[in-house]
């Protein structure tokens, strides 16, 4: 258990800036999710933390100790790979014992450690199998046990859930977060899936083009995005954005409601006349696809409404929708950055 500090980390491959100046401090025991589209540099950043790549510039500190130029084995970090990277020539038991063996731990102590990790993950029945004979979920548990077994200073997860089935994934998300809470190991979790980042992370770092766009709690990122990229990337559906008076106005789909509905904002609200082009059933809610006249070009907007409200809407209608001004977020139309003074 330790803190992780990244100071001005850069990684350049020729003229390509894979990671372009990242400063992050992860507190002891914190679960940090690094989220971004593929090619945003999150994997390179993670590999530098693990020691598999050397940064072109910057400093990495684990537990306050500089480790920038140390090989992976000197950093005491554990990593769970996307493919799990279990050693196919070893049984599950030997896979889990491997990190202890390389450190030359005596056999008795090693066996006790392995038994402890196996107990936590509940995989006692798999010990004598080879990785080839394990299901995806079982492989993941073995990989976690192998990462857990040596009390690492830091856990690094590289999209460990992406090769699981959709049904298992939700369960695994919960288990992973529980495991973190139980062991209290500082965790860096790299993913392109915002559900994983929002659901598990204490804080999320959103990356694009090798830079961290915003670092904050899931709620901060969702409610107060720092720029249009974060606003458009996070949330399903993404934030609605309108060009208004020379800057961009953004608001979440769930705050855009027909003005006739009881939950709609009436005082101090932005009112929009929207042509409903499609209604989509999502289960607990309906998604309304609409268009408004905004200057010369029509602009598409999305609204998320409860079923009772959706029942009053018809495709092809013109309806009045409102959104409370307190829910509006303003962005600079050239830089895309958040404008803090809340003008109309």
């Amino acid at each position: 258990m330790a803190t992780l500090e990244l100071r001005g980390i850069k990684k350049h491959y020729g003229s390509i800036h894979a990671v372009d100046g990242v400063d992050v401090v992860v507190a002891e025991g914190e679960f940090l999710a690094i989220l971004g589209p593929s090619g945003c540099g999150k994997t390179t950043l993670m590999r530098m933390i693990a020691g598999l790549e050397m940064p072109s510039a910057g400093e990495i500190l684990i537990g306050g100790k500089p480790v920038t130029h140390l090989p992976p084995r000197a950093r005491n970090v554990s990593m769970v790979f996307q493919s799990y990277a279990l050693y196919p020539n070893m049984t599950v038991a030997r896979n889990i014992a491997f990190p202890l063996k390389t450190r030359g731990m005596p056999t008795a102590e090693r066996d006790a450690k392995v038994a402890w990790a196996v107990g936590i993950m509940g995989i006692g029945h798999l010990l004598h199998r080879r990785p080839a004979r394990l299901s995806g979920g079982e492989k993941q548990k073995v990989a976690l046990a192998r990462a857990l077994v040596r009390d690492p200073a830091l856990f690094i997860f590289d999209e460990p859930l992406s090769s699981l089935d959709a049904q298992v994934r939700t369960m695994a998300r919960g288990e992973l977060r529980q495991l973190h809470d139980r062991t209290g190991v500082t965790t860096v979790y790299v993913t392109h899936d915002q559900l994983e980042a929002l659901g598990m992370g204490d804080r999320i770092a959103i990356m694009q083009h090798g830079r961290v766009h915003q670092l904050g709690t899931p709620q901060e990122l969702y409610d107060d995005p720092a720029d249009t990229f974060v606003a458009a990337f996070l949330g399903a559906p993404p934030m609605n954005m309108l060009e208004r008076d020379g800057h961009i106005v953004g608001f979440r789909a769930e705050y855009l409601l027909p003005s006739a509905s009881p939950a709609a904002a009436h005082d101090d609200a932005l009112s929009l006349r929207m042509h409903i082009s499609q209604l989509e059933f999502l289960g607990a809610e309906w998604l309304v696809y609409g268009e408004i006249e905004n200057g010369a070009t029509p602009q598409k907007l999305l609204a998320k409404v409860p079923p009772a409200v959706a029942a009053t809407l018809r495709v092809g209608e013109q309806r009045e929708f409102t959104v409370a001004r307190s829910r509006l977020r303003h962005f600079d139309s050239t830089t895309g950055l958040r404008v803090r003074d809340e003008r109309g």
Partner: protein, 282 residues
């Protein structure tokens, strides 16, 4: 009805293949124990002993010729060639497979091209080298020369093996506390055992079966290998010592066939376990 017929067809096919595979060995073994009068009578059935079998020709092979020296030389050269090949090809293939960029691939192809130059072109310049090193006429000439064929081929073969190993496995080993060397020895190497076994078989078989180099670089009978020594000692002018020739061939063939058979089983198992690549067979 159908299953019975299918089984019958299956065993019939199996029988045919077995006969085909076993025929030369049976022929060798039967001939090795025949008396001259039996062998040279055209009217006799070649598969039956028309006169009582004899050990005379087998005894002659060991007492009247240098066959036991040839056997020892072949074994000695074969083992040394295997060791040299592995010592050079394994690290070469591994480093080429992990070289970033296109240079690994290009160097691999360049190495393989060396293998394509036929021995009949190479033996003259190689002879000069061997005499320069004062190794001509000794087993060391062959120990030195065979790796020029086996190393490029085995490097190429192992290159495919190492490339098919996921890099993540070694990275996992690095994170789990291994140095670069340990990651290679403890993770990459065990996973490429089928490829290494293939190399052992190839290098040993080549050093045993080669004829050109074995006759060109070595003329003294005390340094001959089986493949060069047996024909020179047991074919004298136009006289063929058939029974002894057959015995000489059978003595080498049968143990090797058994050994390869056992090894082959392991090879197939190696290919089946998900570890190593499928494109490794040349």
């Amino acid at each position: 009805m159908m299953p019975v017929l299918r089984r019958l067809g299956f065993y019939l096919g199996l029988l045919l293949f077995t006969l085909f595979a076993v025929f030369p060995i049976v022929w060798m073994v039967i001939t090795a124990f025949k008396q001259d009068a039996d062998l040279y009578d055209v009217a006799n059935n070649p598969f039956l002993y028309n006169l009582p079998p004899t050990l005379k020709h087998v005894t002659f092979l060991f007492t009247g010729t240098n066959y036991s020296v040839f056997l020892w030389n072949s074994l000695f050269i074969g083992i040394l060639v295997v060791v040299i090949t592995l010592l050079l090809a394994v690290p070469a293939a591994y480093s080429l497979s992990r070289l970033v960029g296109h240079w690994g691939e290009r160097s691999g192809i360049a190495i393989f091209l060396v293998y394509l130059i036929p021995p009949t072109l190479l033996f003259i310049p190689l002879y000069q080298i061997v005499t320069f090193l004062r190794a001509a006429n000794t087993v060391w000439a062959l120990v030195l020369v065979y790796p020029t064929i086996t190393v490029p081929f085995c490097t190429w073969l192992l290159l495919g093996f190492f490339k098919s190993l996921p890099r993540e496995l070694e990275e996992a080993a690095l994170i789990d506390g291994c140095s670069r060397w340990q990651a290679f020895v403890r993770v990459a190497l065990p996973l490429s055992l089928p490829g290494i076994a293939t190399c052992i078989v190839f290098a040993f078989a080549l050093s045993l079966s080669d004829y050109i180099y074995a006759t060109v670089f070595v003329s003294s009978t005390a340094s001959h290998t089986v493949s060069a020594g047996v024909p020179t000692e047991l074919i004298r002018g136009d006289i063929y010592y058939w029974q002894s020739l057959m015995a000489a061939a059978a003595i080498v063939t049968i143990p090797l066939a058994v050994a390869y058979g056992l090894l082959f089983d392991r090879l197939v198992k190696g290919f089946q376990s998900d570890s190593a690549g499928s494109e490794a067979t040349p």
